[in-house]
Symmetry: C2
Subunit: 410 residues, 2 copies
């Protein structure tokens, strides 16, 4: 059991004995999660579910009521607050929950699913209690540097081209995989939309001899990126621009965006397509790498509100709103879902190695919230709840294409 759970599970329930209504709510919730494969224990020891060694402790009555009302939003809040604790492996618990939610939703015959299928309640006053869960990109570069790869600070899916690769090697392999898909050649002009801490732009300039212009709206990330370009002597070949992707202008031979589309929102895909159409040379290639879905679906409420405001991973069909209106030709789509699960396992391991420092500097709720976010994202990719699409495209009349994809597998 984790130390948070230890502390939370002090003897002496905080809410008196569970009532008949409490027990009814608990049973109703578990009926909506068929085959969940774990036990749920209330503050007074009341329990339902399978005794598999994996246990969820709900530590007060209000927590139970909130959880039943909207589990996808409140589970995260309650777990972060220490009002729910998991005894056993967090990722396994989340994987089983994702699977049970899918089975329950498909069966759709419980009272809870009638409740859960309605519109999500608006962000409540609980939000006020989580001021310490800052917006994603205001958290400071050091926070991310502590658990991302040490070379290029890639906060996107790595590519484990060979089994047993380190995170650093797999991030390099991801960058090379994208560069090979784009067939980068020395002297080409590359535009990168959403460049994070700039590591990929540097990689392209250093390893492929291209000229890169890279856009990002995060001031902290741009500053970090520009400092690094100078210190590596690559500032003549890489320019970082603090501006929105909608303002990208000029001509490029390759247009690449790794991990930005999730933040763009489907309502802006047409504009993104316009931007690319305005910039891409006739024989140019483009690649968009994004978290995705098997069908259009809203983001998990908790992650969308507390961790990644506004994030919306698209289905492949939704992504086509970038390409089809401009008649771009999709050449290659690769789904790297299991590579993202592996990437997240690396990140979570590194995060847990520094969680005590995170707790000391940012508080226990923040530390738990980010552990949950990394574990939950791992589970979302292992269970197929989330996808990772790389979409390579060209203008419709571009015939300067490799005969096969064999060059990606040297």
């Amino acid at each position: 059991m984790s130390s948070q759970a230890d502390r939370a599970l002090q003897p002496g329930g905080r809410a008196g004995n569970a009532s008949g209504l409490d027990r009814w709510l608990l049973r109703a919730m578990m009926a909506a999660l068929p085959g969940a494969g774990y036990e749920v224990v209330l503050w007074d020891g009341t329990s339902v579910g399978d005794r598999t060694g994996l246990r969820v402790h709900i530590l007060d009555r209000a927590a139970l009521r909130q959880l039943v009302r909207n589990p996808s939003l409140y589970f995260g809040d309650l777990y972060s607050a220490g009002r729910i604790a998991i005894e056993g492996d967090l990722v396994t618990f989340l994987e089983r929950t994702y699977a049970a939610l899918e089975a329950g939703r498909a069966a759709n015959d419980s009272v809870c699913w009638r409740l859960w299928a309605g519109p999500a309640p608006q962000s409540s006053s609980l939000a006020a209690a989580y001021d310490n869960i800052h917006r994603h990109y205001d958290l400071g570069n050091d926070f991310y540097a502590a658990w991302l790869d040490r070379e290029a600070m890639q906060y996107t899916c790595a590519y484990f081209a060979e089994p047993g690769m380190t995170l650093e090697a797999a991030q390099r392999a991801k960058m090379d995989h994208v560069c090979r898909k784009l067939r980068l050649r020395p002297g080409q002009r590359v535009f990168e939309a959403g460049c994070g801490w700039g590591g990929f732009a540097l990689h392209m300039a250093r390893e492929y001899g291209v000229q890169v212009r890279a856009w990002n709206i995060s001031h902290e990330q741009i500053r970090h990126a520009a400092d690094r370009a100078r210190s590596e002597g690559l500032d003549g070949r890489v320019t970082y621009v603090e501006d929105d992707y909608r303002n990208i202008r000029g001509e490029c031979d390759a247009f690449v965006s790794v991990g930005m589309l999730e933040h763009v929102g489907p309502e802006n895909y047409g504009v993104l397509g316009e931007v690319i159409d305005r910039c891409l040379a006739p024989q140019g290639l483009g690649l968009i790498h994004s978290i995705g879905r098997n069908r259009p679906e809203p983001m998990n409420g908790w992650i969308e509100r507390r961790i990644f405001p506004g994030a919306q991973p698209p289905s492949l069909g939704q992504m086509m709103a970038i390409f089809e209106p401009r008649a771009f030709s999709v050449l290659d789509v690769e789904n790297l879902r299991l590579h993202y699960a592996e990437t997240l396992r690396h990140w979570a391991d590194r995060y847990l190695a520094v969680i005590d420092e995170v707790r000391a500097s940012r508080g226990a709720e923040f530390a738990r919230a980010w552990h949950l976010y990394l574990a939950g994202s791992t589970a979302a990719f292992t269970t197929g709840t989330m996808q990772l699409f790389q979409v390579l495209f060209a203008r419709g009349r571009n015939n300067d294409l490799p005969a096969t994809r064999g060059h990606l597998y040297p």
Copy 2:
């Protein structure tokens, strides 16, 4: 100049001198095709356009009027009837026309484009004159056997894995490429929807040791396929079923369809998804190989009416209507457009080698129509007007997936 054009270009125009209106129509049509890069010559020698050595001869007044009214429908009819003749390479003429049509449509500032953008006129009485252009699959197996590959009679895009492959080798490579994507293993159960003359089913059973059930509604094709299975001693491992894809039942480890989707129609994609969902085992893989488009667009009117009734190649976004409602996970999309252009060049070469026999047995119109169809399809793929998508998919929770696509490139 081809022998048809020779005959058609006998001295002595059939329609008297071109009138002022004729010349105005001709100039208006060419203004709608900017940069067409050829000369158009009327029956009396009146000509407009670029003197590039490539010439279109319009041999009577009614032909000009029909062509201006609806070129995408009537060009094919008029060419087949010998009322339009091409002096120079037919594929080059068609490629330039596709490009000029696209440029003209984009500019959209000519009187012709206002006419052409309207609803297509209904099939006219001309249709009666083309009874000899039979529906696609009633033409007899011998007709196709004369110009398809000699081993497996694949009437779908080949895969030129290595430069200079023969058509036979490239069709084998296509079948192996699909089998590798599906990761076929001995003893697995494969369902094939739309099996043509059965060559792919035989290949899977023979080379991969799988059990195949293959569906097709064409009686002639099914009979040919079953005969071949018996003569190869594979009838214990391959069963051909004369029935519609909607009636496919049972469980399979792989669901594959090569070149059927074009005939299914987007309105039935949901049903096709249901069929696959009903049949595919939890760890199964599926692949759909289809001609496609960069955006939703109707088929060329002439091909749809005279050659391939009801054909409708989908955009990738349209194809998602098969997968997204059932939450299938798209793993890999490959666009093999230029492989189809190469396949068609092989078919057209073989077709031209037997065109005299085709003309003798089926008449000059039929012979010209099929030449035009093969040349026009080549041009559609070289100009990016048409795509060829292979879409590999699995159930959302299937994690039995290869780490990379390297196994496709041994």
